[in-house]
């Protein structure tokens, strides 16, 4: 009866898609400019290298986005990466089969996520605090376990993984796809994804609707911890050592990627594709700056400026609506 009265306004999803396309356009533009500006950018070697660099942060950014959508933050992911390189290294060197070592390492990530959920739900700690605490203490525990030394991993097949590729694309990048596709379905096409948004939008409304808010919060941090542990395994494979100080500032890069990708730090707004593109924009800046011989100190400045610009325009776009 009221079909005529429905405003001819398209669903918001189209705006998200549009924003995603703009970001993708920005990424492609950067690639084209770099390809013309430097001879070494558009080489197979450099591109695979770029994909490998970006992949780790991309996976972290997806996990981080789940958390940010609920209105939280996970500062511990970099520390989890470092810590789990140690765990996986120790297990493999102890003679465990690779699959078992990887599986247990992932469980460690899950356990850390559960601990965060516990701190937030049961102890009432702010996400910032509990994950900040884990961030510092995990690195400490890792250093205690290794006496501050690196552990070299004696398993060639394990290290070979990160160097291999399939259909010309590095395995590491395939891992991004392996994470991204289920994450996308999870976030946008299952009720659990919907609950992440509802908790970030209005936790009280979610509770009154019968949504299990504590469980949703547990879920977000467990996923973030799990993906961070996964990245730890991949990083260990890539560098061939376990070292608790690895993954330094990864959490900030993951948050930055997520935010560049359109995630709102106030919660309830975010996607999977945005952070993925965001992370590759960041790694392209680093890669390009290296090739152009830009001082690494400047890279940090550029990254900071870019965050401000993109988020500002994203805010304008939202308000303009």
């Amino acid at each position: 009866m009221s079909t005529e009265a429905i405003p001819a306004e398209k669903p918001k999803r189209n705006f998200n898609a549009l924003f995603g396309l703009t970001l993708l356009g920005l990424l492609l533009l950067m690639w084209i400019v770099l390809a013309f500006a430097t001879p070494s950018f558009a080489t197979a070697l450099n591109i695979t290298n770029l994909l490998r660099q970006g992949s780790l942060i991309a996976i972290l950014a997806v996990g981080q986005t789940f958390v940010i959508i609920t209105g939280g933050i996970d500062l511990s992911v970099g520390a989890i990466v470092g810590f789990t390189t140690v765990i996986v290294a120790l297990l493999i060197n102890a003679g465990w089969p690779i699959w078992a070592a990887v599986f247990v390492t992932l469980l460690v990530g899950v356990a850390i996520g559960l601990f965060h959920g516990f701190g937030i739900v049961k102890m009432g700690l702010p996400p910032f605090i509990i994950t900040l605490a884990t961030m510092t203490s995990l690195r400490g525990i890792g250093l205690l376990m290794t006496n501050g030394n690196s552990i070299s991993i004696n398993s060639d097949p394990f290290q070979a993984f990160s160097r291999g590729s399939l259909a010309g694309i590095p395995y590491l990048f395939w891992m991004v796809i392996l994470v991204a596709v289920p994450s996308y379905i999870f976030l946008h096409h299952t009720r659990w994804g919907r609950y992440l948004f509802s908790v970030g939008s209005n936790a009280e409304a979610a509770r009154l609707s019968g949504v299990n808010v504590p469980r949703t919060i547990y879920m977000a941090y467990v996923l973030s911890g799990l993906l961070a542990a996964f990245v730890g395994v991949l990083l260990a494979s890539r560098i061939g050592i376990g070292n608790p100080t690895q993954g330094d500032t990864y959490e900030l890069q993951a948050i930055a990627s997520s935010v560049i990708g359109g995630t709102s730090l106030f919660g309830a707004i975010g996607s999977v594709h945005g952070p993925l593109i965001g992370s590759f924009i960041l790694s392209t800046i680093n890669n390009g700056a290296n090739l152009l011989n830009v001082n690494t100190f400047w890279q940090r400045v550029i990254t900071g400026a870019l965050i401000i610009v993109i988020v500002y325009f994203d805010g304008l776009r939202r308000r303009g609506k």
Partner: protein
């Protein structure tokens, strides 16, 4: 259309007249407040039962206990003959009990359809059936006769429309027992009529309904019986046919009010502010003059551009054309700061979003606009701070244990009193009140209107925005009617009929506006 709706509401098994829900000494204590003293009350299946009472009387608390939002302190709830724990919202929903709460509690980032089905999404093989849900939601909304789209993001709707969605959503969940906690506070007249139609139809289908409101005429229009709460105690239940408004008011506040709309006429003094053809986002060509000692009423539907007009006048938004004259001189008001310095004060319409710092104490909220005055040099004078806050709390009868209680712990109406109260001590020349009495009880309304007179007698002018016609009608010396961003008619004190004014606001009748400017 009706068949859809009937499918949604399987006829309850109880015959009307039988008790469906019984409160047996239901009680709630908050730290520092005995919000609900043991209440005994039985609801009959299929009745509309109104609950009235002052702000903070415990109405919403009762609802929160019945819907599992808050745990009770003691007592029993008997549902269809059996005790029910009602420990979680989920349990209440499973019994068929649901509520439309006083403040809209929905997720503004999700779509209307997602909100309707939140917590009970349809999915197949773990995947959400989004299209099916949008279609289903649209069917329900259409079936209820609301003219709203199901696929848009909730935050894009007005507060009133959101409230209708909340109602639609509740009908899906509260198939046997539905509670409306001040549902019309943010609704336009037309929306309220739609809601009443819905409520009557639900009653026809056998749903039991609790209806909470501060508007007596609504209670008499809808309810079969009415219960009165005072200070957490149930002081009486009446059949609607056997009672009248004065009796209910007397039960509510334990004294009688001879006149709610207190109106004193002052001889208008000098012009305080004048707008000439002011235009901005959401309104155009508005010319209004406010003189000392008079109330200028702005009536219209929600969304007619009244709030946009006053917030632009107040410097929050940029004007696109026109002029503002303050005491005869043209001024540029570029920010709220400018406005406050000139001597304007604005009590905004949305108390949760704009008017209150919910996590701060009551006293701090009240003193926020006057910290400059109660500070000596750099430091805040603690003594003055206390005195000012306590005076406001007493003057407005804000029901709070102390000035240090958080604003979020107050009842809805008492929060509204803070929003108003914080400007009263400020000593401004022009007061702008945007929907000042939303959710405020009759007794306090009368007090707020009396305060208006006090302000006027001190030489101030008032702009009063209200979507509640009787309020502007009885109080405004000049009444401007807004429609779709334009000032369409102007009347003197009580010079037009309610019907004419409504017609001008809705434009249902032909545009034969009496007394157009």
């Amino acid at each position: 259309m009706t068949s859809t709706a009937q499918d949604l509401h399987p006829a309850p098994t109880l015959q009307p007249g039988r008790t469906i829900l019984e409160l047996n000494g239901l009680e709630k204590r908050y730290p520092g407040t005995h919000a609900l003293k043991p209440v005994h009350l039985a609801f009959k299946a299929g009745e509309i039962h109104a609950i009235v009472g002052e702000n903070g009387a415990g109405k919403s608390t009762l609802i929160k206990l019945l819907t599992g939002v808050m745990p009770r302190t003691s007592g029993e709830v008997i549902w269809e003959g059996k005790p029910a724990a009602l420990a979680t919202p989920y349990e209440a929903m499973a019994l068929g009990i649901n509520a439309v709460h006083q403040e809209v509690v929905l997720c503004r980032h999700l779509t209307v359809a997602a909100n309707m089905f939140l917590g009970e999404e349809e999915s197949r093989f773990g995947l959400l059936q989004q299209r099916a849900m949008v279609k289903e939601a649209q069917k329900i909304i259409d079936g209820l006769g609301f003219d709203l789209p199901a696929h848009v993001v909730l935050g894009d709707l007005t507060i009133g429309q959101q409230q209708l969605i909340a109602a639609a959503r509740a009908t899906v969940r509260g198939t046997k027992f539905l509670i409306f906690d001040e549902p019309t506070a943010y609704l336009t007249r037309k929306e309220a009529d739609q809601l009443f139609k819905l409520i009557r139809r639900l009653k026809g289908e056998g749903v039991t309904i609790i209806y909470i409101s501060h508007r007596m005429e609504e209670v008499f229009e809808l309810a079969d019986r009415v219960s009165v709460l005072r200070d957490g105690t149930l002081v009486g239940t009446r059949n609607i046919a056997e009672t009248d408004e004065p009796e209910l008011v007397k039960l509510m506040i334990n004294r009688s009010i001879e006149q709610i709309y207190h109106k004193e006429h002052f001889t208008p003094g000098a012009t305080i502010v004048e707008t000439r053809n002011l235009s901005g986002k959401g309104f155009e060509n508005v010319s209004v003059t406010v003189r000392a000692g008079e109330i200028i009423g702005l009536y219209g539907l929600i969304g007619a551009g009244r709030s946009e007009f006053v917030t632009t006048l107040y410097g929050r938004h940029k004007k696109s054309a026109g002029q503002i004259f303050w005491q005869g001189k043209e001024v540029q008001v570029n920010s709220e700061h400018d406005a406050i310095r000139l001597g304007m004060a604005l009590a905004p319409e949305s108390r949760r979003d704009q008017g209150l710092c919910l996590n701060l104490p009551v006293g701090m909220n009240l003193n926020l606009p006057i910290y400059k005055r109660i500070s000596s040099n750099l430091l805040i004078s603690g003594a003055k701070e206390k005195v000012e806050a306590d005076r406001q709390i007493a003057d407005l009868r804000i029901k709070t244990p102390t000035r240090n209680a958080l604003a979020s712990s107050l009842s809805g109406g008492n929060q509204q009193k803070i929003v108003i109260g914080k400007w009263l001590a400020h000593g401004a020349k022009l007061f702008i009140f945007d929907e000042p009495t939303v959710g405020v009880d009759v007794g306090t309304k009368a007090e707020i209107y009396r305060l208006f007179s006090t302000l006027l007698s001190k030489g101030a002018g008032i702009i009063l925005i209200s979507s509640y016609l009787p309020e502007v009608y009885e109080l405004a010396d000049t009444l401007h009617v807004f429609r779709r961003g334009k000032l369409v008619a102007t009347h003197g004190f009580r010079t037009a009929s309610h019907e004419d004014i409504l017609g001008q606001a809705l434009a249902e009748k032909q545009e034969k506006s009496g007394g157009q400017k």
